[in-house]
């Protein structure tokens, strides 16, 4: 397949780093403010809330398929954008960081979508958001935030490796 344009790869890598920085900031805030510092302690709750990890198998270095990786990247970002939106109202202390993170993820999704359009592999219709978790308590929303952001962090590490591999 055609190599991806350098500026797209460099911009994407910069966006990944921008989001990762914001992610760690948010995780630190959630830990400091709500003492929710171990995502692994929230796995059970994650299942019951339906907060799953977005697949990125086509971006793993061992089985890298650039075009399919792109669409997995976009679908994952689109899912996380929705999950972050569902967390709105989490708390005044955390809301500003969460708003910025959600905008950065949405903008990165636009960058990916535009590249898919340029390569002619973009589906004709923009994806629609699948059903998002509903949070019945402040705790669930905060725990959902920790889970979503830590999943997003793992997701971005894989994306970073793939993009770096293609630069």
């Amino acid at each position: 397949p055609l190599p991806w344009p350098q500026s797209f790869l460099l911009k994407s890598l910069e966006q990944v780093r921008k989001i990762q920085t914001r992610n760690s900031e948010l995780l630190e805030q959630l830990c400091a403010t709500y003492k929710l510092c171990h995502p692994e302690e929230l796995v059970l709750l994650g299942h019951s809330l339906g907060i799953l990890q977005a697949p990125l198998s086509r971006c793993s270095i061992q089985a890298l398929q650039p075009t399919k990786c792109l669409s997995q990247l976009h679908s994952g970002l689109f899912l996380y954008q929705g999950l972050l939106q569902a967390l709105a109202g989490i708390s005044p202390e955390v809301a500003p960081t969460l708003d910025m993170l959600q905008l950065d993820v949405a903008n990165f999704a636009t960058t990916i979508w535009q590249q898919m359009e340029t390569l002619g592999v973009a589906p004709t219709v923009q994806p629609t958001q699948s059903t998002l978790p509903t949070f019945t308590s402040a705790f669930q929303r905060r725990a959902g935030g920790v889970l979503t952001v830590s999943h997003l962090q793992t997701f971005l590490e894989t994306a970073h490796c793939a993009l770096n591999h293609l630069v």
Binding site: K35, L36, E40, E41, L44, L45, S48, L49, T136, A138
Partner: protein, 308 residues
């Protein structure tokens, strides 16, 4: 379906008071083994079992814990179960502790003629550690402040300042009004003592501008140890009948102030003599509404003058 749910007797208590919480794990929480040991964690403290754990008639497990003295003003209490070689947090409740507000004290008000507003300030009293709202309340009254005529809209301070400004349109000048501060949080309410005042009796008056006159020696014979002064009242307060006071002392040496009282608020030519103790004297002037009641203005900026 969420597996665990915490219930707290009272989420906000007085600092040092006890609090009791219970965590119930529903039987249909698939991933958990049948009768998991329920644990508790306060903030990021160690995991500890509850005081009592029992099986409820519907098959769910309930653990109850009593924290004898809550000494965090804000803390998170988590309900967990062991999971692999770690834990799973099932629910988390926010605990807050603090004090009911003490009565606000030292309430005082000043009427500012430049902004046409009555500004009151107070001391909030000791920290309550809880969100506490202060409101400046007031109502119009007759001369003796006993009976409430009509109430004035509450004055809510801006971002936690202990001062509030009542706009001119809420004031009837030359009429008495009653003012007090109410403090309120989730543990209680308190009120400051009430003030009975007419805004015009608490005008923040500014001193006049003191000036020295350079008298023409041909017209006015030079007298040793004298100064010719003039002053005009502060413009915004010009309509207020005032009485003023002048004080002077040698510039150095820290001698006491000499006072000249009952002076008019406006003077074109005032001769001050007897200034023989030093080459340079420091002078200041201040005024007060008179004969109507009022507050002294601050002293004017000091003037260093060399008598003739």
């Amino acid at each position: 379906e969420s597996c665990g749910h915490i219930r707290i007797s009272v989420p906000i208590v007085r600092l040092g008071d006890p609090v009791t919480a219970s965590c119930i794990i529903s039987p249909n929480c698939s991933k958990l083994d049948q009768e998991p040991q329920i644990l508790w964690r306060l903030q990021d403290g160690p995991e500890q079992p509850g005081d009592r754990q029992r099986r409820l008639h519907d098959g769910s497990q309930e653990s109850t814990i009593t924290l004898p003295h809550v000494n965090h003003t804000k803390a998170f209490l988590s309900c967990l179960v062991p999971w692999a070689n770690s834990f799973q947090v099932l629910d988390q409740a926010e605990l807050q502790a603090g004090y009911p507000p003490a009565s606000p004290s030292n309430l005082s008000c000043l009427m500012y003629l430049t902004t046409n507003s009555l500004v009151c300030q107070w001391e909030p009293g000791p920290e309550t550690y809880l969100p506490t709202n202060f409101t400046l309340k007031s109502f119009r009254s007759r001369a003796d402040c006993k009976y409430q005529k009509d109430s004035i809209t509450d004055c809510v301070p801006k971002d936690r300042q202990n001062t509030c400004s009542i706009a001119r349109k809420h004031l009837i000048l030359y009429q008495n009004m009653v003012v007090w501060v109410q403090a309120e949080n989730v543990l209680g309410t308190s009120e400051s003592p009430k003030l009975c005042l007419d805004p015009m009796d608490v005008v923040k008056l500014e001193p006049p501008v003191l000036q020295v006159l350079d008298m023409n020696p041909e017209l006015v014979p030079r007298q040793p140890g004298c100064l010719w002064l003039s002053w005009k009242p502060w413009k915004p307060g010009e309509f207020i009948a005032q009485e003023c006071e002048l004080r002077y002392q040698p510039q150095f040496g820290g001698a006491n102030w000499t006072l000249v009282s009952h002076l008019p608020s406006s003077e074109d030519q005032f001769k001050l003599c007897g200034l023989h103790q030093a080459p340079v004297y420091t002078l200041q002037i201040r005024c007060i509404r008179s004969p109507l009641p009022g507050l002294w203005s601050s002293w004017s900026p000091s003037l260093q003058l060399r008598p003739t």
